[in-house]
Structure formats: structure tokens, C-alpha cells
Symmetry: C2
Subunit: 588 residues, 2 copies
Amino acid sequence: MFRTETCGQLRLADTGKHVTLAGWVQRVRKMGGMTFVDLRDRYGITQIVFNNDTDAALCEAANHLGREFVIQVTGTVAERTSKNANLPTGDIEIIAETLTILNRSEVPPFTIEEDTDGGDDLRMKFRYLDLRRPNVRRNLELRHRMTIAVRDYLDKQGFLEIETPMLVGSTPEGARDFVVPSRMNPGQFYALPQSPQTLKQLLMVSGMDRYFQIVKCFRDEDLRADRQPEFTQIDCEMSFVNQEDVISLFEGMAKHLFKELRGVELTEPFPRMPWDEAMRLYGSDKPDTRFGMTFVELMDILKGHGFGVFNSAAYIGGICVPGAATYTRKQLDQLTDYVRRPQIGAKGMVYARVEADGTVKSSVDKFYSQEVLQEMKKAMDANPGDLILILSGDDAMKTRKQLCELRLEMGRQLGLRDKNKFSCLWVVDFPMFEWSEEEGRLMAMHHPFTHPKDEDIPLLDTDPAAVRADAYDMVINGVEVGGGSIRIHDSALQAKMFEILGFTPEKAQEQFGFLMNAFKYGAPPHGGLAYGLDRWVSLFAGLDSIRDCIAFPKNNSGRDVMLDAPAPLDQKQLDELELALNPSEQAE
Amino acid sequence: MFRTETCGQLRLADTGKHVTLAGWVQRVRKMGGMTFVDLRDRYGITQIVFNNDTDAALCEAANHLGREFVIQVTGTVAERTSKNANLPTGDIEIIAETLTILNRSEVPPFTIEEDTDGGDDLRMKFRYLDLRRPNVRRNLELRHRMTIAVRDYLDKQGFLEIETPMLVGSTPEGARDFVVPSRMNPGQFYALPQSPQTLKQLLMVSGMDRYFQIVKCFRDEDLRADRQPEFTQIDCEMSFVNQEDVISLFEGMAKHLFKELRGVELTEPFPRMPWDEAMRLYGSDKPDTRFGMTFVELMDILKGHGFGVFNSAAYIGGICVPGAATYTRKQLDQLTDYVRRPQIGAKGMVYARVEADGTVKSSVDKFYSQEVLQEMKKAMDANPGDLILILSGDDAMKTRKQLCELRLEMGRQLGLRDKNKFSCLWVVDFPMFEWSEEEGRLMAMHHPFTHPKDEDIPLLDTDPAAVRADAYDMVINGVEVGGGSIRIHDSALQAKMFEILGFTPEKAQEQFGFLMNAFKYGAPPHGGLAYGLDRWVSLFAGLDSIRDCIAFPKNNSGRDVMLDAPAPLDQKQLDELELALNPSEQAE
């Protein structure tokens, strides 16, 4: 061992102790005949003192230390004269006796402190230095403690962690797979799993009863801020359960995590909201319920008064922003610009202020009498000082999603999206299918193995689009932290599902034959859930992106800029795999 | 919940309780007017009784149950008249009141019992049924408990579990990589990690101090019984440590696992054996030390006596097999055939029996006087009744490896390789390099980041082949269960190492530039170890192959026969990746 204690360990009670510490030089300060070195490791910072009067050569050596040098120091613990209350070790310092430079450092490309001067690209290229910053390190420590807490909870509930393979078969249904050419089987490919969905169902067929796995999953999608090509799932499945059992067990796990990792005791059951209510009130299947401003539909009140935009609309809805009547014209114009951005796509925004005397002033006053506006005020439950914001459009679902963005933006502007407040709920009763314009057919909203609600099974034959599923998502602060469903365990029902999804029996057999065959040998009723680990950690750490809770993340082009991966292969490797690049160019 | 209790839970104290159970039909027996059903789940087997006199219809339904049907039964717990001491639930049975068939089953292709009639191929194709067998299930339960114990130990020692990426860069040095084409970066590939070696070193540079990860690793090698293309490593790294620290901490972990999972308390320190001693005494760097029969070199005694084979040999060595002088000529011929098999490759075998009167009878008596043979007997420490087996050859290392195989075979034949006996040791002081005939250069025996022993560093310039490394393997019962080393943390030493390994500075920069750059910014002294999880589980479960402790293993062609993976891709997927198959054929 290069040390007897860490840099976070020594206290006043250790005064007089002879110790050896090792770590990184955070800072060197000269004051009079003394040189002070802040020595840092994962556990903290300890001040080392070199006295020019006692040992001039040693002090001189300390004066030549650079930032991020790795050093080893022996010395004696002494009480500080000027204590630092901000540091756990702030009552003591080490009077240095020897100094060994274990490794030198070039000047780092950015400062290794909580607030750094390094931009995103630089920090990612030198991620190993970025990870030295205590705030980044704390995210990884939280992630570690979270997986410990998850495993502890699930183990106590009788779950077995079982590893499923990473090299599986490709299933073109759903998102795009990453694939892996097989050298031993030329012309054939493995795929990396998008999730262990079918494998965990096979584990239920095999009688494992309660399975979980904290597991890497892969999706070859174009990336956004909160997406990574590889991400980590807390993947769970249980046998002989119904929806209530799964919800209750995993709500228990969520509460366990809140208590263990955030010290938050959640005693009430999480509210449950049917999917259609979430869409109606929030325009989202993952509503942020930390604040109100739920949607009020205004079709009955605002249609038929000469305002053409509303008259031709398929949906008119508004939110009441409490106390925001003070918004200036400029602020309102900025909001209009916000909803008009192509990512949101609204055509415009109508607003109305409730004055101190209760009258309503709107941007479309010429079309509406005060009587109608008062009716609207009442419907919106608006009070003097409130601001009413209204969107309309010819596609109700699209307009709701635009209004959702506006609501979230108002929540942000009013400081209602407090990262230290948590609002949890279950969204339930998802539709079984959604229509895909692109494919011209119904697609599974969750996946093809989701069980329809028993009472809706007859609708499969008559009105499949109306069928609801035994599917549920857990939503916290507007983030979908997990979701799951009861699965189909009956091969006839599964076959019908594939039929509705447009699979020929041959195609279904080709892609999911292994699962349908397994169902012939006594599949138990089962269901499960998958939590997104990256999202949970981000939520608890108060991060805006999952990237900062991942040790070595990829950028938006799917590159690891530190490793410089991906990269071209040697021709020898391509030859062994019997692959050629860029066939389109070669054909020319 | 489909049940109030599991099938392993009810005891005599529960008599009279009204319960609901669910599970699989293991067996149906009719006896007189009664039908007995053994109901099985992960937790056990409970006997259900249907009485024809009480409810003829219910009993009739039970009579029609098939093996592996999934059923739900309600009834009352009753004391059995004829108890089954072999079952934890054997004192009770359930007097059935209702029976619900949750799912039917076709007749399974093999019996779902510990001793099954299913061959390997069939069991792998229907692995989900194979996993229902209690002995296979227990392997996965052991694996689960082992990972819990590992994480518990390492967490308490201050290790952080940190996930490293699965999509990394390819490093042609070493074994073959599995690669993943990048759609977003056409013509470029990720590789799946053979181990997180360089990433965990970067985590040490980043100050994480103590890292571990239970992680999938990938090697595209031709497969043998104990190899899988994907396998799981317990990967660990520590900063500010020397070899002694790493060995001591991970010996502690091994002892923790033995105690927690096998109830074996190992109090003594594990012996340490230098690599050259292991090769000299056992002909192996992973000797099975459960039994003796160590090698005795016989060059001095047996050379120069007219026996040409020995006279021209570069190595002559023997083992003394206690009490095996009774081996018949036929058995000895079989042993000769054994060492002559191409996998072993010896030219022949010489043997000598020590008779009851102490005289030695050998297969080469005509060349040796009794005096010489007595000298040999003494060197071998052989006693009356012992058998001496001798191999020779013109390559000492090859001959030792052949003698190693012979020793292991004799250990097996004499029942000395008891799966319930454990003999642990550290093999230390590995050579830094080994000569590769194929490459015509020195190769790193562990990997290029291994630290040479301090006292051997001067030899790097004068006699690199003689340099020993701070590298260590843990060996149990002849299985290398883990290994590691102290790493180089000095970029100049690392550069020299690459030079000896034949890397140009450009090539070293291209492949490991990210690591060498990182070393410029204050890399701490560090080292670590990786344990093979699959091997540990196999060892503790007494398995001959790691395959049976993996839920869904691949066969020797790297195929998952259950999933039928790998498989050809859709042309659309190939086009998106800008790849073409089989360029050699296309070129024709």
C-alpha cells in the first residue's frame, strides 16, 4: 500500500499520528515560508504543509509540484490554526516529512474542479480527467449505490439475477438492431439485444418464477440528448401474477430507492392515471405532475364565434397559468415563437389575461364577447392575475402534444419543475396498438407480447384499435422511468396478435418461432417491467442528460471521442468475416 | 397473485390452512379412488390429492392432466398418512377443492427430472425445458448467490461497480474481436470488449481508486468445452497498491466465497508458487495440487546408458504413482496410447514398477542396471508397490506439458481429483514475454500493460526474454479462476514495452494512444485482477463444463440452437450498414 489513510479520513482525534497519504495535487499555495498543498483522492482533500524553516529542500520540492501530479507524503497530523469548516478534514493538516513524486502530469486541458472551464467536447475527449471532478464522480457513486439497493430489494423478494446472452438473433420488428457478423458462420449475424424481452419470457416458461437483470441494451437509433446507443435496464419478470402484483412490487422498489438514496419516505400509493386521461389532461403519456395547469378543452365555448382558426379546429385547449397575467407582450411573443418552432409545430397561440377586476382581455377580443370570455374563465377555473394560453389545430393528438410542450415551458419559467420535488405516478390502460402512417398498419404500442385487457379481448376481432392493454408505465417528474406489461402466455392469442400486426404465420414463425414453440410446453401466466437505470440515476442526481451518469458515454454521432471508436477495420479482419464495405460504390 | 403459497413452503404446522397453489404437473398417479398430483415450481414439490368419492368430476379432471400442464389448485393442507422424508413438504398434502388449467403442454421432448433422457443437442434446443430440471436450476441459483456475495464483499471494501462501454474500439493485438458495424459512421466498426482492461486503467487515472464490474466479455475464438464466445468476468482494479495488496484482498474474497457458498472455512494463506517451479514440478501454469505425483527430472540418472531415446532427449522426467504397480500390461498400453494421442503428442512412455522386495522392473530393463534403477527409485522417492511413469522429448517445455496430461490422467484414474476437495494457490512471477513462433517476435504473456518486476527492469535492455512480471494467477484444482498484474503507470516504460513487442511508435499511438495520453496526466500506481465467474460457478457446482452454469449457452460452432442465431440479415439491414457479403465469391 502506498498510503496508510485516504485523503478523506483524518480528523482532529488523529492529531499526532504518523501517516502516509497518496493522491493528486489539487493546489499549491505559498504563504510566507510555508507551502500548502491540497492533496486529493476519491475520498476527499487533505492539506499538507511544508515548512521552509524546518526543511528548505523539501519545501523547495513542494514548490515545484504541478497540478495533478501524483505524490506520496509522509508526515504527522496536526491541528490547524485556521480551520476550514467546508472540508471534513478541515480541522487538521499534515506536517510533511517526506515527499515522493509517483507520477508527473502535464497541465490538464481544463480545471479539475466542480465548476470547470472545459467545454463538452473537451471534457468527453479527456473523460478520464473529467471523471476526477467530484460532481461527476458522485454520479457514478450514486449509480453504484443504486444498483446495490436494487439488487438488495429484488434478492429479498426472491428474484434471481440471470444473465441472458448478448449475442442473440436479429428482430427487424421495432427499433434498429446493432448486428455482429459471425466468422464461424459466414454470411450470418448475431444482434445485440434491444432488451432481453423474449429471453426473460423463456425464463418464465422455464419456471424461474422471478427473474431480474441489470443489463446493457442496444438500439441503433439516431441519438438525442437522453438517448445512448447502449443503455442499462433493470429488467424484471414474474410468474403467476397479474398487473396489480407487478405494480405493487415495483412501486415498493421505487419507494425503497427513494428512501435509501434520497432519504425521501413516500408513504402514499402512487396515483394511477389511464392513458387517455393523461393525454386529455397533459397531452403526454409521461406527464410532469409536479405542477397543475392541466388542459381544459374549449371547443364548446370558443367555436362558432367568427374566429376562423378556432371554427375549423379539431381541438381547442387551454392551460391556466396562475399569476402570469403580468407577462409582457414581448414575453408572450416569445412564447408564440416557442410553440411555432419546427420541433413543436403549432401555428400560433391565443392568450387571455384575467384582470384584477375579473374581466378577461384576450388576443382575439374582436371575435368574443366578455360573456363568452367569462364562460371560458369559469371553465378554466381562472382567477384575477392568471394567464390563459390556448392552442388549436386540426389534429387533436398533435395539438395536445404542442400544448404539452407549452405547459412544460410555463412550468419551467415559473420554477415549478423543482429537481428536489418528486411526483410519481403510474400511467395505465395503454392502447394495445397504434396506427403507423409509415407502415400503413397497426403496430404494437409496447411490443407484440403484451396482453390485452381481458374485457377488451372480444374487440380484437371487431375493433382492434380500441383494445387496451395490461400495460403500465411508471412516470416521475415527466420522465418515463420504467414500464411493462402482463404478457400473453397463450399461443393461440399470441398467434392472433401477430396476425393483427400483419405477420404471416411463416414470418411469425421465422422471427418468434422459438417463443411460440416454448408456449406449447406449459407457459405460466407472467408479466414484468423494465426500469431505465440511467434515467433513475439522472433523476436522483438532478441531471439534464443521462450522459453524465455514464462513465464513458457516446456523443450524438454514436462516437466515443476518447477511444476514437468506431474506426475502420484492418482488411484482414474484414476478410476473415467475408465482408466488403460500401457495395454501392464498388458497383459503380 | 395466482397462489397464496409456493410449492416448497407448506409444512405440518400449516395443517388445516386453506391455500391456493400454482405450478407444473410433475407426475399424476392413480391409486384406488384417489389421484395424486405432484405439483412443481421453483421452490419445491407439493402433493395434491383428488378424491373420487368426494368429487368425482374434479378427480376425473385431474386424471386428464398431462405432464408439464400449468395448473392452479385450491384446497386444504392435511397431514399425510405416508410421509415422504425426501421432500421438505413431504409431511403434508393438499386436499383439492378446485382445479384450473392455466395452460396445457405438449408432451415434452425429454423427461424433466434430474436424470433426464434428453441428449445434449435436444436439451440445448429446448433449453427452456432443460432449465426446469432442478439440478440445472440450482446452478443458476448458485450463480445468483455468488454475484451477491462478490458484490457484498467488494462494496464493503470500498469498490465502486462502474459500467464500461460494450461498444469500444478494436485492438487486433491478442485474440480476435467480435466487431459491430456502425450505421452512423459507415465503413467503421466498434468492437465488443475482450475485457475492460484499458478502460479500468483509465478509471484508475480518473481517481476512482477501487473499481469492479461483473461484466460480459467477448472473444471470437474457436471453441472448446470450457470456452464460450461470451463469458463473464469479475473485473477489478485498485490504485496505490503493490502485488501483495492485490493478492491479499482477492485471497480474502476467495475465502469469503468459499465460506458463503460452500460452507468451507479456509484459514491458511494460499501457497504461492513461482511460474518456473509450477512448470518444473507440474508442467503447467495451473497445476492441480489436490494430489502429489510432482515431476522428478531424471536426466542425470538415465542419460548415457545406451538407450538412444533418452540419450538424445532434452528432457527426461517421471512421476511416481503410489500403489499403481498393479497396473496390468493392458492398462499400461492404454496409458501409452493416451499420451500418444495427437492432442498430447508424446512419442512413447517408459514405465517401471517397484516390486514388493524393492527391486525395480522397467520396460527398458535391457539398458539399465538394477543399480541405476535403484538410483532412480531413490530420486523418485518411490516405495514398493509404486509405479514410475517416464516421458522424454527433445523440447523440454513440450515434454513437461505431456507429462502434465499423464499426471492428471493418473490422478483421475486413482480418484484423486475429488470435486469436493479444494486446493488453492497463487502462481506468481510469470515471465513478461513469450516467444511466438508464428509472429517471430516476443509477445506479452499477460498483456502489454503488465509491470515488470522492479529488479528485472534492467534486463529489458539486455535480455527481455528473462524478465519476470508482477503478474499472478489464482489456481484452484487445476483451473485458472483468475489472474492479474500490477500495471505500468509510467508512459516511458509503457513506450519501451511497446517497442519490445514490435510496435512502431505510430502503431502504438494508433491502438493505445488514448491510454498513453492519459498516462501523461498523473496516472497513479495501480493493479488488479479478473476472476472468471463462469469458472467459479462451475467449480463450486462441480460441473465439467462452464456451459451448464450459463442460462442460454452457445454450442461449439458459436450457435444458439434455441434462438437459431446467428442468422442471415435482411438485405435492407445490410444496405443500411453499407456492407456486402462474401466479397471473394462476388469477385469471381
